[in-house]
């Protein structure tokens, strides 16, 4: 089948402003959208830039806005599109070239929530024990591949006035450590998260959950962080 793709283009080395370019590629219905983008680059226009790596939704490189919805180009099959497909870079982030955006601020925010296990008790010679139930509490959160689709889709992040909000991806990782029974820094973490640019930045708009390529219940997890902060305050 013939697929038509209308793609956002911008190269600061030569373009004064952005424009859209339409390409047509021959594709099998079971091909990935990523295959179409590669075919364009390899056969028609090598100047088109986008990131990719694993090609099957594990590395998180090829997040982009597809017909207005953020997702991974390697997870979308051609057969699910009928008309022309509109492809744009992830919103929220600065466009570096075509579909490549600057994820520096995304990772800075991610880093700011202390994405690592904090413990004081010295570990034993073997593993720390954790029951399957305790593991299950955060198991969905470890599916996160940091593709940034959720943060890019969040209306709070999209709003200039609240752009300092760390965003759903960082909060998913915060949830993962806050609810890990091995972590011993829950007070420190809750102090950090109890802020309008962190847990309370979330306005429960569900966009993150709708787009997550790994089906993580993002909004619910942020809700659980809020609940835990609230309860800790009201118990104390």
């Amino acid at each position: 089948m013939l697929v038509k793709l209308k793609i956002f283009r911008f190269d600061p080395e030569k373009d004064e402003k952005l424009y859209y370019q339409t390409y047509e590629v021959e594709a099998d219905p079971m091909d990935r959208l990523l295959d179409c983008l590669n075919r364009i680059r390899w056969e028609q226009d090598p100047t088109l830039s986008f990131r990719m790596s694993c090609g099957h939704g594990v590395c998180g490189s090829d997040g982009m806005r597809i017909n207005g919805v953020c997702g991974l180009a390697c997870q979308k099959l051609v057969r699910s599109f009928k008309e022309e497909v509109l492809i744009e870079p992830l919103p929220v982030f600065k466009v570096v070239k075509d579909l490549v955006v600057d994820l520096g601020p995304f990772f800075e925010k991610y880093h700011s929530i202390k994405p690592y296990l904090i413990t004081q008790t010295p570990p034993s010679d073997t593993e720390r024990k954790q029951s399957p139930g305790e593991h299950e509490r955060f198991e969905e959160a470890i599916r996160c591949i940091l593709c940034a689709c959720c943060t890019a889709s969040c209306p709070v992040n999209q709003n200039k006035e609240t752009e300092n909000y760390v965003g759903p991806a960082a909060l998913v990782r915060a949830f993962r450590y806050l609810f890990d029974s091995r972590d011993e820094a829950s007070e420190e973490r809750m102090d950090l998260l109890d802020h309008k640019d962190r847990a309370w930045g979330c306005e429960t708009l569900w966009k993150c959950t709708e787009v997550c390529p790994k089906e993580i219940p993002v909004t619910q997890q942020i809700g659980q962080i809020k609940k835990r902060i609230y309860e800790a305050k009201h118990e104390g």
Binding site: W42, C59, K97, Y116, T126, I142, D180, K214
Partner: protein, 574 residues
């Protein structure tokens, strides 16, 4: 830009990050990566990491040692394998202490599952040895190590593509990189350089490997005059999703999945009566392709079925969530109810840059080292996997030898002074890039690459023979001629992926030639290297490692002995 560090690590997969974590605080360490670190291909590892913890049932490191030696078809160096399997428990506990979210047993210990070729009591029956986090083990370990690096503020140069290794008169003195984000060239001086650049699965048409797995590090070492070891041993994973080649982890069979042919027959019973579907990967891949050749593939196509339908929805959702998701997205079927079409897919290269037990790169069969240069992970060959790697031994290899390389570099740099880079070496890189950009070539990367991948699939994959390998070599050599006229039409600096892919293709062609030449010279069948014209293992002639050297006349194959300590070669039956 000119940059200086004590230790420079190229590659941000598990080997590179583990080495970095080892060095931080005691040396000025930096990591260069062609992709953003969390996009590294280690993250695609699904099934687990082996260690004889014995959390689910009795296990011993001696059994793990035996299985690995047998899995390697006796080509693995037993001293290296012993180091690896004896260090395995420490590795797992260390990861757990760092925060890796392993799946758990009801008692709260790290859960373990079956994996191909891992047995108890020297081959008697399968043993649960693979520690896992559902089927996303590589990803969570990668994330945890990356987070450790963030915590320790390790310097990263993401999206920097390695262009060359720079040597001064005495030793490796640094690297040159192309900064994809700006188009600039960087020269990074270092007292020690670790290559942890991963594999080269993209040489083949059907592969589980990511687009970045183009073997750059191996090829650059080779071009610097360093031989490559055991390159004829390329692993085809039995269960790639048909037709894309995306990996469906052996964990699927570890959890009880079985392979079936057109007749619904569980055919592995015929090929490996004791462990059946849990035989080593080379054995299972050959069995699948034999079924297909004998017309027992499904619907006259080139695949068989991986059947999980008897496992039940709960187990599939809990333990094999990622695989189930891949099947639903890419095949449009549900593994809870439908058998999965699978075919062997190029997965891993056992060969690579020869190193000693501490990651130092070896430049000949006498064990001389390349001062300042180290290698670990898939790009290296220490050799723990010999002629065939067992599942879940790769992550272990990355973590054991990544750490050991880090320890060695920390020690070695104390005796080294900061190198002084000559202008000559840096100028040559610059002119090479300019040459590529200015050349009005008529050949396109895409068509040369596609032909290379077809040639490698046809002549250099699971079944090989002399005639085919010679044809393959001819094919690759003519593609190398065409490559001389490669054109890069995008002349811009930043995010010039066309330029990067043109350079990658040069590496891929060199490695293809090295693989086929090594395969042609090994006139026996061992592990993943199966010669239809020499279907027996010939220990008398070939119980030795190949070393392929770059020479002006093309690749030249020589050999060096295998280290055998405890287990003498025996017939390999599963």
């Amino acid at each position: 830009m000119n940059i200086k560090h004590d230790i420079l690590i190229v590659g941000a997969g598990l080997a590179g990050l583990r080495a970095a974590v080892e060095c931080v605080g005691q040396a000025d360490v930096a990591v260069v990566s062609k992709v953003f670190p969390t996009r590294s291909h280690s993250g695609a590892a699904q099934g687990g990491i082996t260690a004889s913890l014995g959390n689910e049932e009795e296990d011993q490191w001696e059994w793990h040692l035996f299985d690995t030696v047998k899995g390697s078809d006796y080509l693995g160096d037993q001293d290296a394998i012993e180091i690896m399997v004896r260090d395995a428990s420490r590795v797992i506990y260390e990861l757990e202490h760092m925060g890796v979210p392993f799946s758990r047993t009801p008692e709260g210990k790290i859960a373990q599952r079956n994996f191909g070729g891992h047995t108890r009591d020297f081959g008697k029956k399968p043993v649960k040895r693979a520690c896992y986090a559902a089927d996303r083990t590589g990803r969570v370990v990668l994330d945890t190590l990356y987070d450790q690096c963030l915590r320790h503020q390790i310097k990263f140069y993401p999206e920097n593509y390695l262009l060359s290794l720079v040597f001064d008169e005495k030793r490796c003195a640094g690297v040159a990189t192309y900064d994809l984000t700006t188009g600039e060239l960087h020269f990074i001086q270092a007292k020690a350089v670790l290559l942890a650049t991963g594999g080269c699965g993209r040489l083949y048409k059907t592969t589980s490997n990511g687009f970045a797995s183009t073997g750059d590090g191996m090829s650059l070492a080779f071009r610097s005059g360093i031989p490559l070891q055991d390159m004829e041993f390329v692993q085809f994973h039995p269960t790639g999703l048909y037709p894309l080649g995306i990996l469906a982890s052996e964990a699927a069979r570890g959890e009880g999945g079985v392979l079936r042919n057109r007749l619904g027959e569980r055919f592995m019973e015929r090929y490996a009566p004791t462990v059946k579907d849990l035989a080593a990967r080379d054995v299972v891949s050959r069995a699948i392709l034999t079924e297909i050749r004998e017309r027992r593939g499904i619907g006259a196509k080139d695949y068989v079925h991986l059947d999980l339908t008897h496992l039940g929805e709960e187990k599939i959702e809990k333990r094999l969530w990622e695989i189930a998701s891949f099947v639903r997205i890419y095949l449009g079927i549900d593994p809870v109810y439908d058998p999965i079409p699978v075919q062997p897919t190029c997965h891993y290269i056992m060969g690579g840059i020869p190193t000693d037990l501490d990651g130092r790169v070896l430049i000949n069969e006498n064990g001389s080292i390349a001062p300042g240069l180290y290698a670990a992970g898939e790009c290296a060959c220490v050799s723990v996997h010999g002629a065939n790697r067992l599942g879940c031994n790769s992550l272990l290899d990355l973590l054991v030898f990544g750490r050991r390389s880090g320890l060695t570099m920390k020690r070695d740099i104390l005796q080294y002074e900061a190198p002084i880079l000559s202008n000559g070496s840096t100028r040559s890189v610059d002119s090479k890039i300019r040459g590529l950009l200015n050349h009005q070539g008529r050949e396109k990367c895409d068509s040369v690459r596609k032909e290379m991948q077809t040639v490698m699939m046809e002549y250099g994959s699971v079944f090989r023979n002399e005639e085919g390998l010679k044809k393959g070599l001819e094919g690759i050599r003519s593609l190398k001629e065409r490559y001389k006229d490669i054109g890069v039409s995008d002349k811009k600096k930043a995010f010039n992926y066309e330029l990067m892919e043109a350079i990658e293709l040069g590496h891929q062609l060199d490695l293809s030639e090295a693989i086929l030449a090594s395969a042609l010279h090994r006139r026996e069948s061992r592990g993943a290297h199966w010669r239809e014209d020499f279907p027996q293992r010939a220990d008398r002639y070939y119980l030795k490692h190949s070393l392929v050297f770059p020479t002006p006349r093309g690749p030249e194959v020589r050999y060096k002995p295998v280290k055998i300590t405890r287990f003498q070669p025996e017939a390999r039956v599963y």
